[in-house]
């Protein structure tokens, strides 16, 4: 056992922390969140120069061969500071499934460009009134002249409005086993028939409605094997859940750090509010929530890094963080009082993200159901 970050990981963490604190002040974060595009191209380039987009990819694709755990450490800092950008979409939702399932030609074509920060990719999965199970994939692609034609609506597609490519999970055959017959296509975002509308969400986190109106995709653009796309999606969801959890733990840490400073300085009834037992107990609960959740996130990330199946660990981590981050921001607001309820303050950014994070890639109840299944129930 070893529960410490390696020296390299500590350095990565520190670099990321300092870079983000310097480059993404909260004024900029707020500006980006309210902007249409949602990110700064300039900073995107700087992040690429730091090797962040390359971090998790093998050297042969111009990556720097980091582990999934390394990525999680970086994401934790991105959650701590908040870093509006299509990083999550491109690396986790786009890059990782390509690395996992694409053919060599596709990898050579795409991964180096992802690693260089030249491409933005995302994943279109969720459909109206459906969940994250195999049966929820109902949008169809029908073969036509050596191509496939996709027709249907996908929702909550992150960063699709700025993406170059969209990985799109669709049904190519109706098998009785619903986990079969799903295919992942690499769709050019500018293809005719792709209509992308930005949704206005609680966290302004650039999720889109994407309508595929008879979009033609060459069969060469299948990622993996036709009809066998579900395992790609499933493992991507697993990783996405852990990656998102890492961001959320980082966010929760930021909240407690802010609230701690405030409660030591803010005086009411002639004493710092942090000296009240009720406030102290709030902090204990917040802190314990955070470290407990972080342990689960790291364990799931470690398991994925080791190449093991992490269905249970990933579901446990996401469920736990989903609860914990929400509890932490709510208590954080309780400590900040009125000032935290103003737009000018930073608390609400985290409060919004705690909920958005919980909702993404399966909320608490969804993940608990996954845990139950993994436990053999």
């Amino acid at each position: 056992m070893n529960f410490e970050l390696s020296e390299e990981q500590k350095m990565l963490k520190k670099t990321a922390h300092d870079f983000l604190a310097k480059k993404y002040p909260k004024d900029l974060v707020k500006k980006l969140e309210e902007s249409h595009k949602g990110y700064s191209q300039e900073l995107w380039k700087e992040m690429a120069e730091l090797g962040w987009m390359a971090l998790v990819f093998p050297e042969e694709y111009d990556g720097i061969d980091g582990s999934f755990l390394d990525l999680v450490i970086l994401l934790e800092e991105m959650g701590y500071n908040i870093c509006p950008s299509p990083f999550f979409s491109t690396v986790i939702l786009g890059g990782l499934p390509i690395l996992m399932a694409a053919n060599e030609e596709q990898k050579k074509e795409l991964l180096p460009r992802i690693a260089m920060g030249e491409l933005i990719i995302t994943l279109a999965l969720t459909e109206p009134n459906n969940g994250l199970e195999a049966k929820s994939v109902q949008v169809k692609a029908t073969p036509s002249n050596g191509e496939y034609v996709i027709k249907g609506t996908k929702l909550f597609v992150s960063d699709a409005h700025v993406a170059d490519y969209i990985l799109c999970a669709v049904r190519t055959e109706d098998a009785s086993d619903l986990e079969r017959g799903i295919t992942v296509f690499l769709v050019q975002a500018k293809s005719p028939g792709v209509q992308c509308t930005l949704l206005k969400t609680l966290a302004r986190d650039k999720q889109c409605e994407v309508i595929f109106d008879d979009v033609h995709v060459p069969k060469e653009n299948i990622v993996g094997t036709k009809g066998q796309g579900w395992p790609i999606i499933k493992h991507t969801l697993e990783k996405a859940a852990v990656a998102r959890s890492a961001q959320m733990v980082g966010g929760a840490q930021a909240v407690i750090d802010m609230a701690l400073s405030y409660s030591k300085a803010r005086v009411q009834f002639d004493r710092p509010i942090g000296s009240f037992q009720a406030v102290q107990h709030h902090f204990t609960n917040m802190w314990a929530d955070i470290i407990g959740s972080r342990n689960l996130v790291y364990k799931a990330a470690w398991k994925i890094s080791e190449g093991g199946l992490a269905g249970l660990e990933s579901a446990m981590a996401k469920a736990r963080v989903g609860e914990a981050y929400r509890r932490v921001t709510i208590l954080g607001h309780q400590i900040f009082g009125g000032i935290g309820f103003t737009k000018e303050h930073d608390m609400h950014l985290y409060h919004r993200l705690s909920m958005a994070g919980d909702l993404s890639f399966g909320n608490v109840d969804f993940q608990r159901e996954m845990v139950a299944t993994e436990l053999g129930l």
Partner: protein, 399 residues
């Protein structure tokens, strides 16, 4: 015991309900937001609705519904239960109703105001012609009102006020400030302040907007720079301000927009009956059923505090402790409901109003998730409420 309204009250309730349904514009629900026990989304606090709210208020005032709780001699109906009925129905419909004037200023003037003050102010308040904002909190006096710094210095037959008030909910859309200011800096903490009425238009008042986390301007930072207040605007005795503030507590506690709880429950129920998820109606999911039942039960609990408190006020038996429990539970329940709504709505809960995919009254849940956190921190934090209940209500020893 009798948990029901009297026949007269039932008729009254129906009258109020019908009036509001007819009166409010048909697109009112789409134009306004509201979350139970939230401070961030009251239509009457927004500039956009100021004119309409003021007109609506005067209509309601004409019917006597702004002063139901007042004694008959001051034009009231002597029934806080009726007052509570009006409030419940209004908040169910999100009507731009109610405020400091009718719940705090009026009753306080009745209790401690001079005869001339009563004559001047009570009719205006009851008619909806004078609206107030609450000038208590300051940047360094939130939970701890005793620390307030705003000074009012006697100068001839005027007071000269200097200082800064914060939150000032609706200061920009109301007529007067219900101000608490320090008049005797030498006295110990709670014998040093005075309540007075200050016209918002007095020179030296600078009202600056604070945008809340919903992006709505409902709060204000208000600066007082040599503001002159005529002596006759003092409410009650000089230097008795803190005691007079406490007097109004009983009336104030009931302002929570009770009907909004009923409304949000109804909306949730409607939603799960109509919405399919993975091919199954949400209402058939045992987890969803359990969650909604749990909320419905808690709403019933705070309703029980609500009616009991109104009834007790009419009996002269107001219990501060029970009223504090009402505030505490109500505001914390508001957060729980927002979370539950989000859990049930899933990804759709995060959509803001205007989205074609936004369910539940067009993005309500998302508004609620933001607004709900204001309840347990506004008007006495949950922590302060819990202290009060334990110490004053249960007799536990002070620290």
């Amino acid at each position: 015991m009798d948990f029901d309204f009297t026949e007269e009250e039932k008729v009254f309730r129906k009258e109020v309900d019908e009036f509001v349904r007819e009166e409010l514009p048909p697109d009112w629900d789409v134009k306004t937001s509201y979350w139970p026990a939230g401070y961030g989304t009251l239509a009457q606090m927004e500039t956009e609705f100021a004119d309409y709210a003021s007109e609506f208020h005067r209509k309601i005032g004409k019917k006597g519904w702004l002063s139901c709780g007042w004694p008959k001699e001051y034009g009231g109906m002597n029934s806080w239960v009726k007052n509570a009925i009006v409030d419940e129905v209004m908040s169910y419909h999100r009507a731009p109703y109610g405020g400091v004037a009718t719940w705090i200023s009026g009753p306080t003037i009745i209790e401690v105001g001079s005869e001339s003050m009563k004559k001047e102010w009570l009719p205006k308040i009851a008619n909806g012609e004078a609206t107030f904002w609450l000038g208590y909190s300051e940047p360094n006096a939130g939970s701890d009102l005793g620390s307030l710094k705003t000074r009012a210095v006697k100068n001839g037959d005027e007071f000269i006020v200097n200082g800064q008030k914060t939150w000032g909910t609706g200061a920009h859309v109301t007529d007067y400030c219900w101000l608490l200011a320090k008049t005797d800096p030498s006295a110990r903490k709670h014998g040093s302040a005075t309540l007075m009425i200050v016209d918002n238009k007095t020179p030296g008042i600078d009202i600056r907007p604070i945008e809340n986390i919903l992006g709505i301007h409902s709060f204000n930072e208000v600066f007082f720079d040599d503001v002159r207040v005529p002596e006759e605007n003092v409410v009650g005795e000089i230097n008795r301000g803190f005691y007079n503030v406490m007097l109004a507590l009983q009336y104030e506690r009931l302002i929570m927009g009770m009907g909004a709880f009923r409304r949000v429950l109804e909306e949730l129920i409607r939603y799960v009956k109509e919405t399919e998820y993975n091919g199954q109606l949400l209402k058939d999911d045992p987890l969803v059923r359990n969650k909604i039942a749990s909320i419905a039960i808690e709403i019933e609990v705070i309703y029980s505090f609500y009616w009991r408190t109104a009834w007790a006020m009419d009996q002269g038996k107001f219990s501060e402790t029970e009223a504090s429990v009402f505030k505490l539970f109500g505001t914390e329940l508001s957060v729980k409901i927002a979370c539950t709504a989000m859990e049930i709505l899933g990804l759709y809960g995060q959509l803001e109003r205007g989205s074609k995919w936004a369910p539940l009254l067009d993005g309500w849940a998302s508004i609620g998730y933001l607004d709900a956190i204001s309840g347990p921190i506004g008007a006495g934090t949950s922590e302060v409420q819990r202290d009060i209940i334990a110490i004053r209500g249960l007799g536990l020893p002070r620290d």
